[in-house]
Amino acid sequence: MRPLGTGSPGDDGATEMDFQERHEVTESQQGNLRAFEALHRRHVGRVHALCLRMTADRELAETLTQDVFVRAWRKFDSYRGEGPFGAWLRRLAVNVVIEDRRRAARTREREVQDPNGIMADSGAGGAATRAGRPEARIDLERAIRTLPPGARQAFVLHDINGYRHREIAEMTGLAEGTVKAQLHRARALLRRALEPSREAEGS
């Protein structure tokens, strides 16, 4: 399947990498752990970003990322090359996180009520650069972490990862209206969190 690109200079590289990735997928499906390691390296950043943003918990995100790859290996046969491997993997990651959340909700019952505690934990990847654009990014990442879990999930899946309302409803088992309500709530909360004047005023 040819990319939809507009003939930009990077296309050759992308095609070559594509071929390479396809090879890694085939090899992995035949049980080649080396090839799977290469695939892991290729995708771990994206899977981890998703897990981290959805859980707002660095340790849990690492555990779940591991889990995603172990499961991908176990279930490799169910990937039949219908879509890109990255999309399949990402979908698997969403399922792993959602499943974990359900399990945790059942056992823990009460969810994290301490957004400030989470906020105190430094930005993803450690020392935050306090200059220019990166700061704005980190502020947003940080604000996302303070969201209530349902709202965070909706925002991360819809506004960052580009899934649609219906797809999210299907993945989470929630009604589409609920997903939308959570998304709107997330956006309202984020705007408030990112507005410096209001932040100074109170809460």
């Binding site: 990319p3 690109g5 990077g10 970003a49 990402r90």
Partner: protein
């Protein structure tokens, strides 16, 4: 459309899920409502920032050793499971064929062995393991839009945005330096950055429909920002 209805629909508006009639009604309301316009601008700004977040965050430590260990443990456990039932038949066999043991006809013994072997092989190769269910969902990853449809939508948007950029430059040259225009051009820099980020990610994974949608979404944000700049209110 009432003000409250308009506020509610702004989300659907930026998400591009409003029908034509609703969208037009909302745009009519927006033309006369400064509060809704501010709300819309803030919403767009948030979405642009969200679209500009990095696609990858590498974990702080290398996760591969743990993953490889888990995979190998699992394989070992599976081998054991496969070996366990096979251990018993050997005992049975010994009894069957041992002098003075059970006097089963050799044919019957052979059939029993065959059945056992079949079960073991079936377990090892075919039987589902634990944790199958969640993947069903993953498998159902929708086909999404056809590449051609996405490419067409993108081409239209790109052309629209290019024309918009030219028009906007003209506006600036003619000295239309309203605060509104200034804030639009500030946001425009962010949108352009979001477009570049989304495009780069897409170039790396050209088959990923989610990334394609992100590029589209970034262009949509740009188009709607331009629209805002061209609105009568902004030119004053």
């Amino acid at each position: 459309m009432t003000h409250d209805q308009a506020q509610e629909r702004l989300h659907d508006y930026v998400d591009g899920v409003l029908g034509v009639a609703e969208r037009e009604a909302l745009e009519a309301h927006l033309a006369g409502c400064a509060e809704c316009r501010r709300e819309l601008a803030a919403l767009q700004e948030l979405l642009v920032r969200a679209a500009g977040l990095p696609d990858e965050i590498p974990p702080a430590r290398d996760l591969w050793p743990a993953i490889a260990a888990a995979i190998e443990d699992e394989a070992a456990a599976r081998r054991e499971r496969a070996a366990a039932p096979a251990g018993r038949p050997r005992g049975v066999l010994r009894r069957l064929f041992a002098p003075g043991g059970d006097r089963l006809a050799p044919a019957l013994a052979a059939a029993a062995v065959l059945a056992l072997v079949a079960v073991v092989v079936w377990r090892a190769l075919v039987a589902p393991g634990p944790g199958d269910a969640p993947l069903r969902l993953a498998e159902r990853t929708g086909p999404g839009e056809t590449p051609a449809a996405v490419a067409a939508a993108l081409a239209t948007l790109e052309a629209e945005c290019r024309a918009g950029d030219v028009q906007l430059a003209g506006l600036a040259r003619r000295g239309g330096a309203s605060p509104c225009l200034a804030s639009v051009s500030a946001s425009m820099g962010e949108v352009d950055q979001a477009i570049a980020t989304a495009r780069a990610a897409w170039r790396r994974h050209p088959d990923d429909p989610v990334l394609a949608r992100r590029v589209l979404a970034a262009y949509k944000a740009k188009a709607s920002l331009q629209k805002q700049a061209f609105s009568a209110r902004c030119r004053v």
